[in-house]
């Protein structure tokens, strides 16, 4: 071994997965071999947005040579869902969006399956659709889920049966009632901004589309290979819904070609398992085309947000009256918790004495709105962070100063009644102001161009049940190299690398001695991990890894102490060697971590193969009052940050060029500073891209832009020339070495930062995403004759 990195925590050691990925050796699901018995599945999607299913006739499909089976919801109507079981695996009596799974065809080749899927005849009786969440929440809107009151639901989600509201979170703080903030409070405000902001649904667009392979053996053993952020959650959901003993349900998940939340929870996987059940013993593979990925997997929810916010003449925020209507799409089994998260964090990172917040998840006849990087926070910050600028302007204050004055600080009693944990948001604001040259105006590169700067801040807590657990195992080899077993998924964020760093640090061995045995994650052999979501791995999985390493370390010290006749408290492990501070003796870890050590005079042996195990689960999150959202501890913690943007806009074309993005986030402790920077950079461009993205539907609910030609992702030419990042480190009380997560936060407030910079450049406000060139152009040429002069 060439290099030896001692105490790797805090050092930018190389990624453990990079070599495999640059050589093409890294295996993803579609790279795995399944042998000659492999069959292929194709999902039959609904072509209509809302309808009753009158009849399904699969006879023509079944008659096609090479077709092995067709499964439908009629075969076994089975409800599925993470927080709210509201979704049939295959549509049962009705369809609720264009793209819904109606049937599954299994055949000997992908081509035959595709051909057969077109032969499945489905008779529909159309129902009136609902597309707008605000309209859909009204009592007289067409009902999408008449059985909402019968669905199984967790105890912290509150559906309103008889309406399209699958979750209603209420936040009441200070002088407010269900009718709103007290008039006396509004009367104290020097200025009030009341406005509506909206965002369309957007797609995660991982470069690897959803893919799953399933095999249902005649002995009842079921295996699923999936590109998944949630192998254990999927195992649990499949076992529950399909009545499979957990021990018989095995989920295997190798590397994932991007997730961003889209591969969290469960999507097509159950459909594939039911296909496999129809052809016992055969593996069945389903890979989504890019078009299917757009319409028939998860997307980010849309939002209609209504804000009324006021402050006094000195710029102190006094009141917020907020109503968030999330367009949850056809099924809200995961989406209900996004509306809840947006509810308990509805103020954004601000200390406000009077808050009335209502956050609704609303069924619509659009694709399934589900987890996406930021989980409700990019959506609510879009309007919030622009209104803060408008309030500041109205009372003649600098927007950054206004935000700094009102932002949450450690010890504040925040909106839910919880005490704000240790974070330093003012420092983040100061850092980005400095990096972007706040207050200084740059000259545009041409007369028809305008320059502008904007700033936005954010907060986000991991949004999850109160008790999601992590576990880890460490196991030594004869040469004292160590295998670390975890089930956090390496989705690009660097989870394996930080797991290796933490294990090495806690044990006292060089980083280069650690191997991460988590590819693939296999629920049959890997330790439990709830899901790779919520920016929780560095913190939660990290705590489990640290505990496992400390468990192993304790065993080693006990053996050596006994061997030397010393007290374990006097011993330490440094660079792979046990040392005694008392006797100054040394004992290499090599061999002894497997074979143990002999007693004196060869009278027997002691020790044995060292295996350490560790777990972590937060135990302190409390329930919240369903009428007020008040409780002692709503969430585990918050990560905060600030971002500032410098851009140039072309008034002749409406095109925006983001020149620089400066970010600062309080990550507690950067376990690997360069990997934090790669999140900050990648997130900034993801956030930038999201400001220009939108799924556009026709009046029948059909997606009009399901391809990368019509749905543009940021390319290498769109990425800013400069992305500056600052890491703030205010340690988290229960974080490993003080660390908290940062994976999602880095894109939360980019869109409003761009909008604020756009206002700075043009003096025009944009309330509705995306920021298309057409929209910008029309706004800057309002009232002009725009007919073609050519």
């Amino acid at each position: 071994m060439k290099e030896q990195t001692s105490n790797p925590v805090g050092k930018s050691v190389p990624r453990v997965d990079a070599f495999e990925k640059v050589t093409g050796a890294a295996k993803y699901v579609d790279d795995m071999a399944f042998g000659p018995t492999l069959l292929y599945g194709k999902i039959v999607h609904s072509p209509v947005a809302h309808a009753l299913i009158k009849k399904i006739d699969a006879s023509k499909a079944l008659a096609l040579p090479g077709v092995k089976a067709v499964v439908t919801g009629q075969d076994s109507p089975t409800l599925l869902g993470l927080y709210l079981k509201d979704r049939y695996i295959y549509a049962y009596d009705r369809v609720r969006y264009v793209g819904e799974s109606v049937a599954g065809v299994v055949a000997i080749s992908e081509e035959i399956a595709e051909q057969a899927a077109k032969l499945v005849e489905v008779e529909y009786e159309l129902l009136p659709p609902v597309f707008d969440p605000y309209e859909g929440a009204k009592p007289d809107a067409p009902l999408l889920h008449p059985d909402l009151g019968k669905y199984e639901v967790v105890n912290f989600i509150f559906p309103e049966p008889g309406t399209n509201v699958s979750e209603h979170f209420r936040l009441r703080k200070g002088r407010v009632s269900d009718a709103g903030v007290s008039d006396e409070v509004w009367a104290q405000c020097a200025t009030i901004v009341e406005d509506q902001y909206t965002l369309p649904q957007i797609q995660h667009a991982p470069i690897e589309t959803h893919i799953a392979v399933a095999q249902w053996n005649p002995d009842g053993q079921v295996t699923l290979w999936a590109a998944s952020q949630s192998p254990f959650a999927q195992r649990d959901l499949l076992a529950q819904s399909l009545g499979i003993p957990h021990g018989n349900m095995r989920v295997i998940s190798p590397y994932i070609g991007g997730g961003f939340g889209g591969k969290a929870g469960i999507s097509i996987e159950a459909n594939v398992v039911l296909m496999a059940k129809a052809v016992p013993g055969h593996p069945v593979k389903v890979r989504m085309t890019r078009e299917e990925e757009f319409v028939a997997t998860n997307v980010r929810q849309s939002l209609v947000a209504k804000y009324k916010i006021g402050c006094d003449k000195d710029g102190n925020l006094l009141a917020m009256d907020l109503a968030y209507y999330f367009g949850g799409g056809a099924y809200n089994d995961y989406g209900v918790n996004i509306a809840r998260a947006a509810g308990y964090s509805c103020t954004g990172p601000y200390d406000v004495p009077n808050v009335k917040g209502d956050s609704y998840c609303v069924y619509t006849n659009h694709p399934i709105g589900s987890a996406m990087r930021g989980f409700g926070m990019p959506e609510i910050h879009w309007g919030l962070e622009q209104i803060m600028d408008r309030l500041a302007e109205a009372i003649g204050m600098d927007a950054a100063d206004f935000k700094r004055q009102n932002c949450v600080r450690q010890g504040d009693t925040i909106l839910t009644g919880m005490t704000m944990p240790n974070v330093d948001l003012p420092q983040c604001i100061d850092k980005v102001k400095e990096a972007i040259g706040w207050g200084r105006v740059s000259k545009p590169s041409a007369p028809h161009k305008r320059r502008g700067k904007g700033l936005a801040i954010m907060w986000k807590a991991p949004a999850m049940p109160p008790n999601p657990g992590s576990s880890a195992i460490v196991r030594f080899n004869e040469d004292a190299t160590l295998n670390v077993y975890v089930s956090g998924q390496e989705i690009g964020q660097g989870a394996f690398t930080v797991a290796a760093q933490m294990a090495a640090e806690a044990l006292g061995i060089p980083y280069e001695w650690v191997r991460v045995s988590a590819n693939p994650v296999d629920t049959k052999y890997s330790p439990y991990e709830w899901q790779t979501v919520a920016s929780r791995l560095t913190w939660s999985m990290g705590n489990a890894v640290k505990a496992a390493a400390e468990h192993a370390r304790g065993q080693i010290l006990d053996i050596v102490a006994k061997y030397w006749g010393e007290d374990p408290a006097d011993l330490d492990i440094k660079n792979g060697v046990v040392i005694s501070y008392k006797s100054e003796r040394e004992q290499s870890l090599k061999k002894m971590v497997v074979y143990g050590l002999p007693n004196e005079n060869f009278e027997g042996w002691q020790g044995g193969p060292i295996v350490g195990s560790g777990k972590f689960m937060p135990t302190y999150v409390t329930g919240l009052d369903p009428n007020t959202g008040q409780g002692a501890r709503a969430v585990v913690h918050y990560t905060v940050g600030a971002q500032a943007v410098d851009l140039e806009v072309d008034t002749d074309t409406g095109q925006i060029e983001v020149l620089k993005i400066a970010s600062a986030y309080d990550v507690g402790k950067a376990i690997n500073p360069d990997l934090v920077m790669t999140q900050i950079e990648g997130g900034a461009v993801h956030g930038l891209s999201s400001a220009f993205e939108g799924m556009f539907f026709d009046a029948q609910g059909r997606l009009r832009n399901p391809s990368f030609v019509d749905y543009k992702l940021a390319t290498s030419l769109d990425a800013p020339r400069e992305i500056h990042g600052d890491i703030v480190e205010t340690p988290l009380e229960d974080g490993p070495w003080g660390a908290r997560g940062v994976g999602e936060h880095v894109m939360v407030q980019t869109a409003p930062a761009i909008a604020n910079a756009l206002y700075n450049a043009l003096g025009v406000r944009f309330n509705h995403l995306p920021l298309s060139a057409e929209k910008v152009y029309l706004a800057t040429h309002e009232g002009e004759e725009l007919t073609c002069k050519a």
């Binding site: 990925k21 640059v22 085309t289 990648g682």
Partner: protein
């Protein structure tokens, strides 16, 4: 219709039997086990399947396998020689230009093609050469820097 032919991939000759409509990427991945080349869209829009066709970058999902006969095909598996990483692979590792890894093979191949036709590209030229390769993770900055680094080292 089946075609019996041979493909020249990374300097090796592979006899194959392909259908008329088989794409090059399908034959690479499913017949020859060269799974380093990825499929992200199947429509020539994302660049994940980029390979070199007589030195020029192509989306191998848009090329029929039969068209590749008699041409020199290079894939990510051919980049490292004799156990040593190609300078671009090294630079991608050193710059942390890799996250989920799904676009990486295509990025490397597009970058290789660029440096072979222009050994000293400007930053703008690098960005233009990679515009057909979508990456959702990295924000491109590290990738561009890695390519520029290799260009400078080769001067």
């Amino acid at each position: 219709m089946l075609h019996e032919m041979s493909l020249n991939i990374n300097g090796e000759t592979y006899p194959v039997v392909v259908k008329s409509h088989d794409t090059l990427v399908r034959v690479l991945r499913e017949q020859l086990g060269l799974t380093g080349t990825k499929v992200g869209c199947g429509n020539g829009e994302c660049g994940a399947c980029t390979v070199l066709f007589d030195g020029a970058p192509v989306n191998s999902c848009m090329v029929l396998a039969v068209e590749a006969q008699g041409h020199r095909i290079e894939t990510v598996e051919g980049l490292s020689q004799g156990g040593d990483l190609h300078p671009l692979q090294k630079a991608f590792v050193e710059h942390n230009a890799v996250q989920c890894g799904f676009c990486t093979s295509g990025m490397l191949m597009s970058a290789k093609a660029l440096l072979e036709r222009n050994s000293h590209p400007t930053e703008q030229e690098v960005r233009e050469a990679l515009v057909g390769n979508l990456c959702r993770c990295t924000g491109y900055i590290r990738i561009v820097d890695a390519v520029l680094d290799v260009a400078e080292a080769g001067s």
